[in-house]
């Protein structure tokens, strides 16, 4: 057993309102520089939809993540042999057209336009070339199903859905979507790290945050293609890659990352997970249907004396072990089993987990009245507007079991709480539902508390960093705003 600690995350999709506050918080702090305008380390997608960059989940196009062949785990995009041939031209790399060309507007024209019979307009200008452009796509081009025949119907997660189910998804009055906020998953088997020819990408031993050493990056671009979530970005101006740093300067000082802190729906949870690093390879090789369970089994019980001893032996600090015991992420993922990794079939073993969405509130028509109950207690989960298969493609590597379990438990908790607080549901029925959903009243109360009444400190249990001596902490990030970013003492120019 090789016990390591990881700062892990849970996003509760049922609570996400799609306001994009997280994206803006991140952009303002980290990606307001030249070359990063197009980057959204945090973005919020509408599902079904093609996302950002377009169809990022389609690994036939981008060859991201890992695959197993002859019992070996291999990167889809580059093997060690292939990297030699792909280094001049990476065949799977997305280009700016797959994201969007960043733009601003010619606002000056509104003031300087000569008097005429027409209202002056501010035409869009490319932030790359400074030329006038026609805006053809943006970071949220298909937000709220905008342009859905083109975008939503091309969602790779619709694979395996029957034509009927597909049609239903977009039928009037049955139309449905949910939001899918994404940041770097800080995976325990990161494909970006494994692909980097220069060894510039690395996972921090102490907290598992995946970072990119800009001084070692040579712009070979392997990481861009290798990350199946497309969360490593290429700074076209400096010629180096960049990625989400989980706001480590904030985390090290006990603050939640900006996107977590600013989350309006309070959907985000952050806490320590202890895991057995010696099992990473073995778990990443499991067949698709065993991956979710395999990853869960890799996560260790922070109360188990053997685990604590192993953690201590590996130099995990007492305060971190204590944080792991209070971790909301551990509850969601391991104890309650209602948070699931996104696309675990990419085999990077992401450390960001999602509670699959129940919304919209489910009901069915019975003799012209809306009914919220039926003999078959979980009928509406099977008949939900978002087909189970779609969620399973996102969160269960195509297998519905784990997703159904998470949804049933959420539904049971709702009914139980409704029986207690509103009283229009028979408590006996609610209790039966809890049993059927593998849940106890105590657990239901705990889930209710952590999802509905959670305070700031419940959601973010950040271990002290013990990096007191790190010089970066004493620098003023605002000094470098719109210039160098954090950590550089000079503005990073392109080339010399």
């Amino acid at each position: 057993m090789d016990v390591r600690s990881q700062i892990a995350m849970v996003f509760h999709l049922d609570k996400c309102i799609g306001c994009h506050t997280c994206s803006i918080a991140c952009k303002n702090i980290w990606t307001d520089r030249r070359g990063t305008e197009y980057m959204w380390w945090n973005n919020v997608e509408t599902k079904p939809g093609t996302g950002y960059p377009t169809r990022w989940e389609d690994q036939n196009k981008y060859a991201g993540g890992w695959e197993t062949s002859n019992g070996d785990l291999q990167l889809k995009s580059t093997s060690k042999r292939k990297v030699v041939f792909n280094i001049f031209h990476n065949p799977h790399m997305p280009t700016m057209d797959d994201y969007y060309e960043p733009w601003t507007y010619d606002y000056q024209h509104l003031f300087n336009a000569p008097e005429g019979s027409d209202q002056p307009t501010a035409r869009p200008i490319s932030m790359v070339t400074g030329e006038f452009i026609n805006i053809e796509s943006g970071p949220n081009w298909d937000d709220d199903l905008g342009g859905s025949p083109v975008y939503a119907e091309n969602d790779p997660n619709l694979a395996g859905l029957t034509p009927e189910q597909r049609q239903q998804l977009f039928a009037v009055e049955r139309l449905v979507f949910f939001y899918f906020p994404r940041i770097c998953n800080h995976c325990s088997n990161p494909a970006c790290v494994a692909s980097c020819p220069s060894g510039a990408l690395y996972k921090r031993g102490e907290d598992g945050i995946v970072l990119l050493d800009q001084k070692r990056c040579r712009g070979w671009r392997s990481c861009i293609a290798a990350c199946p979530y497309k969360k490593v970005f290429f700074n076209w101006s400096t010629g180096k890659s960049e990625k989400c740093i989980l706001c480590f300067p904030r985390v090290e000082t006990g603050q939640a990352p900006a996107c977590f802190h600013s989350c309006v729906g309070r959907i985000r949870y952050l806490g320590v997970l202890l895991y057995d690093a010696s099992r990473i390879e073995e778990v990443a090789k499991l067949p698709d249907d065993q991956l979710v369970e395999g990853q869960r089994s890799m996560l260790l019980d922070p109360f188990d004396p053997a685990v604590i001893a192993g953690a201590r032996a590996n130099g995990v600090t007492e305060s971190t072990i204590e944080s792991a015991q209070k971790s909301p992420v551990y509850q969601f993922v391991k104890v309650w089993k209602i948070a699931l990794p996104p696309h675990i079939e990419f085999r990077t073993l992401p450390m960001l987990f999602y509670v699959p969405p129940m919304s919209p509130v489910m009901s069915h028509m019975e003799e012209k009245t809306k009914e919220h109950n039926s003999e078959e207690l979980f009928h509406d989960i099977e008949e939900a507007r978002v087909p189970m298969k779609f969620l399973a493609n996102l969160f269960g590597a195509g297998h519905e079991g784990k997703v159904r379990y998470a949804l049933k438990k959420q539904k049971a908790v709702r009914w139980y709480r409704r029986a207690l607080t509103v009283g229009d549901v028979d408590l006996a029925v609610a209790l039966r539902m809890l049993t059927e959903a593998d849940c106890t009243p105590e657990e239901a109360d705990a889930i209710y508390k952590l999802t509905s009444l959670c305070s700031f400190d419940d959601r973010f249990v950040i271990p002290p960093a013990h990096r007191e001596e790190a010089i970066q902490m004493f620098e003023d990030p605002l000094e470098h705003k719109q210039g160098a970013g954090f950590g550089f003492l000079s503005v990073p120019h392109r080339g010399m």
Binding site: Y202, G205, G219, G239, A277, S278, G315, M496
Partner: protein, 235 residues
């Protein structure tokens, strides 16, 4: 031979090589130590993908092959001459060298066209980049010219230029080998020196940081902030 020409030869083929090697070594080492951030391939594939393939790929395969040929002839001239002692083997070597030279030229042409025509790429092209392109064009074009109009270069490189280069390495510069060479060859040598001298200040330094450790390192990289860490990283 008049004295002006001899003086020029002295400057271009004795002074210049030592000067550029000094600049190259000092420049690349200082830059690596003082400004590691600036070491990058400065790829622009992200901004334009199609022409990138048709320019970059032939150029790199071409230049790597041709350059290796030069290095081999420099290192083992005797064996090269031995290989060339049979006409058929000489023809094979010469023709393949020419093909790779043309591949380089075509690729370079593609790269330059791409830089000129794609507005996004122009945005990330500096004045220094244009100097690099101009020098490379002179270098590759003169190389192809030499290959066509002064044939059997693989043989006379081994017997004329290898001794000259070795005389430089041994700090006993011997101009006797070079003085009589045709203009195109002299141009090719001088522009090579110019490229070496300019390299430390340009994007060409990416050649020095080709990722060889990747081929034998473990897939995952873990960095510990804490110095005292007992067990090494897994997987």
């Amino acid at each position: 031979m008049n004295t002006t020409a001899a003086n020029w030869d002295q400057i271009l083929f004795v002074v210049l090589p030592y000067a550029v090697m000094f600049v190259f070594l000092l420049g690349t080492i200082m830059r690596y130590r003082k400004a590691p951030f600036t070491y990058s391939s400065l790829s622009s594939q992200f901004l334009e993908n199609q022409q990138h393939f048709w320019g970059l790929v032939p150029f790199h395969y071409g230049i790597i092959t041709v350059l290796s040929g030069h290095v081999i002839a420099f290192l083992i001239p005797r064996q090269v001459l031995l290989w060339n002692s049979r006409p058929l083997r000489l023809y094979v070597l010469e023709i393949s060298a020419l093909i790779f030279g043309l591949l380089t030229l075509v690729g370079l042409g593609g790269c330059i066209t791409r830089r000129l025509t794609v507005s996004k790429i122009r945005e990330v092209t500096s004045l220094l980049d244009w100097h690099v392109f101009a020098l490379l064009l002179v270098q590759v074009a003169s190389g192809v010219y030499v290959a066509v109009f002064h044939p059997w270069g693989s043989s006379w490189f081994a017997s004329v230029l290898s001794p000259y280069l070795w005389s430089l390495v041994k700090f006993q510069p011997d101009l006797g080998y070079v003085a009589a060479l045709p203009f195109a060859v002299k141009l090719h040598i001088a522009s090579a020196y110019a490229i070496i001298g300019l390299a430390p200040f340009t994007r060409l330094v990416h050649v020095l940081v080709v990722p060889n450790p990747y081929l034998w390192r473990k897939p995952q990289v873990v960095r510990w902030y804490r110095p005292s860490r007992s067990t090494p990283g897994n997987s």
